[in-house]
């Protein structure tokens, strides 16, 4: 197993009390596998991956549990050692490429700097590598793009530059946090192709965070659905989409309007909105919005079972 996360808990001390952003998340990732993490804002999908990357530096954050990457425990690892892993073996792509790039350096300069931070190469060697990388992420004219500044590129180009940077050290694990959310569908299609190609050529494992069920269904081998800081369902792509178990997964899939065929007169909507992590309901967090009325859900918190396809729901487990 490449990455093994066990019972991860992340809490933040705030003025209004302790916020449990992640409440017992466990998952595994194999080499070369694409894991899709789906959830809405506040479901904890980003925080759990920031924890894996060791990027939660807030002094008010409490991180518990275990994150093992290739037999090494990452929780509690000194910052120096984490830095050596990050950018080298583990790379990350963020949602907004404009904030991930510095506006005052050229694209080529930034990527070369990243390479030289991890590999002992000369500046000209690094720049040669940058040109290769930009060609790999489908820049029509890589040499010219190297001398451009981020603001001179379009959104899709910028995101491809960020991906080129993430790929610069041939990462074994790539974490992508909503990398296509700010992009148009036509550009998104190109980026998704790129992620697939990356897995095929470098055998990198990818954790892909998104709120878009369509994207996950096209890209991921396995899927994890999160709600209010917990994993509510997990399974292979086929298991999850052809036989969704958890009422939240089912409702979410049902509420997406179809692109072909008959138009429903009304969409089957989920009532209410995602709960605030400060005031989580008793029992199952999805309980107040759940179409299933079942007594145990009001008091106990359902736990995700074992097995490849599992749902954290008393009704499903009953």
């Amino acid at each position: 197993m490449m990455l093994s996360v066990r019972d991860l808990r992340v809490s933040f001390r705030t003025q209004e009390g302790l916020v449990r952003a992640i409440d017992g998340v466990s998952f595994d990732l194999r080499e070369g596998e694409i894991l899709g993490v789906v959830g809405e804002s506040g479901s904890g999908k980003t925080v759990s991956l920031l924890a894996v990357m060791g990027l939660i530096t807030d002094p008010n954050a409490i991180i518990e549990g275990s994150i093992r990457y290739r037999e090494r425990e990452l929780v509690g690892l000194p910052a120096r050692e984490l830095r050596r892993l990050r950018g080298n073996e583990i790379a990350m792509i963020f949602q907004d490429p404009m904030t991930a790039l510095t506006p005052v350096y050229t694209i080529g300069g930034q990527i070369a700097e990243q390479i030289r931070a991890h590999k002992r190469v000369s500046k000209s060697q690094a720049l040669e590598r940058v040109e290769e990388l930009l060609a790999e992420v489908n820049f029509p004219n890589p040499r010219e793009a190297m001398s451009r500044y981020p603001h001179q590129l379009s959104g899709g180009m910028r995101q491809r530059a960020v991906i080129a940077m993430a790929l610069s050290c041939n990462p074994a694990l790539l974490v992508a946090d909503e990398p296509t959310t700010a992009l148009d569908v036509t550009v998104q299609a190109g980026i998704l192709d790129l992620v697939r190609k990356l897995r095929a050529t470098h055998n990198s494992a990818v954790v892909f965070i998104t709120h878009d069920m369509g994207v996950v269904s096209e890209l991921a081998d396995r899927v994890m659905v999160m709600y209010a800081g917990r994993v509510v369902e997990r399974g292979s792509r086929t298991e999850l989409f052809s036989d969704p178990q958890h009422p939240y997964t089912r409702a979410l899939l049902g509420s997406i309007p179809p692109l072909t065929g008959e138009k429903p007169r009304r969409l089957p909507a989920i009532p209410g909105s995602p709960p605030s992590l400060l005031r989580l309901p008793d029992g199952c967090a999805f309980g107040p919005r759940c179409p299933v009325n079942y007594e145990p859900c009001r008091t106990g918190k359902p736990v995700l079972g074992d097995g490849t396809h599992a749902a954290a729901c008393f009704r499903v487990q009953a």
Partner: protein, 332 residues
């Protein structure tokens, strides 16, 4: 009958250009062709969906339609009245019948005022109702959009995104408008909340006999709400027609690429959709390409497309395409 047939809103060769820079700027004074020669007819009771990539001019067009922007060229007619050049005072009687809902409800609602007050504002400006009558109307509106009566005293930050958008909608319908322009009304909302707002908009349309112009980049949402679709590329409409037809058999190569790029949930892993990946990026509206605006990225472009710009012409009843070689057959 004549009344019935008259379009509620019509644009005739409407253009909006912005000048940027001054003659002292490094590249001199330049012109952005944001909306270019758009002729669009909106009939009473229908929902026209505007789709296209970011920067295609759909939001600029929307803002021109409610006269938030001044129109550079062409005409804008509301129920046959030319309102293109009307002054702000002359526009007032039209404003109450022509409303807009914006994308981000947290940006369009004043954070320092109670939401009841925000919804009452258009009533205070446009009607002579007493404060008691206004309070009664606000309560009615809150009920209509699915908010509770005691929400009136709250501030925008005390609401979730979906509830805030309900406030934005309540404010837009406060004056019983005829036409509402919705600019990405669900894009900023959580996925599980989007369907609620889409349903609410459909209910309101039925109850209040509203006409919508609906802008969104999420194509499946647009298909769900629209009766007619206009696909925009670089400031112009490249295809127009009944929503389900355009989605089932897109005729313009750009519409085909756009629709094929939407990721959809496949429950059966066998069927793989054919995806058209467009080369390059949307060209800058500062320097639009010659001939057909789409030709540099078009998979079927020939020499003629480089030179001659195709007009938006009707090929089949209700289907208009601006392409020299439209394919009016099923695409997939």
């Amino acid at each position: 009958m004549i009344e019935q047939d008259q379009p509620i809103l019509e644009t005739r060769e409407l253009s909006k250009r912005f000048s940027i820079g001054t003659r002292f700027s490094s590249q001199g004074k330049r012109t952005v062709h944001a909306v270019d020669n758009v002729s669009l007819t909106v009939r009473r009771g229908e929902t026209v969906g505007l789709v296209g990539e970011s920067g295609c001019g759909k939001s600029t067009l929307a803002r021109c339609l409610v006269r938030l922007y001044d129109i550079t060229d062409g005409q804008l007619l509301f129920e046959g009245d030319d309102i293109t050049g009307k002054s702000l005072t002359e526009l007032r009687p039209f404003r109450r019948r022509l409303q807009m809902v914006f994308q981000d409800p947290s940006a369009s609602l004043n954070p320092r005022r109670r939401v009841g007050d925000l919804v009452a504002e258009p009533l205070r400006i446009h009607t002579k109702l007493s404060s008691r009558e206004i309070a009664k109307r606000v309560a009615e509106l809150f009920d209509l959009v699915g908010l509770l009566p005691d929400h009136v005293m709250r501030y925008p930050h005390e609401f979730s995104g979906g509830q805030r958008q309900r406030v934005g909608i309540a404010r837009a319908i406060a004056l019983n408008p005829d036409l509402v322009v919705l600019d990405e009304p669900v894009s900023a909302l959580d996925v599980s909340v989007q369907a609620q707002i889409v349903n609410l908009l459909a209910d309101l349309q039925e109850k209040l006999k509203l006409t919508y112009i609906f802008i969104a980049h999420d194509l499946s949402v647009v298909r769900q709400v629209s009766t007619r679709i206009a696909v925009m590329y670089l400031g112009s409409i490249v295809e127009e027609g009944p929503a389900e037809e355009v989605f089932a058999t897109p005729a313009h190569p750009y519409s085909q690429a756009l629709i094929s790029a939407v990721p959809i949930v496949e429950t059966t892993s066998g069927s793989v959709r054919k995806r058209i990946i467009l080369a390059g990026d949307v060209p800058s509206p500062l320097k639009p390409p010659s001939g057909c605006r789409f030709h540099p990225r078009c998979p079927i472009a020939v020499e003629r497309c480089r030179v001659e710009r195709p007009e938006l012409t009707e090929h089949r009843s209700g289907r208009k395409v601006a392409c020299h070689f439209p394919t009016l057959q099923p695409a997939s």
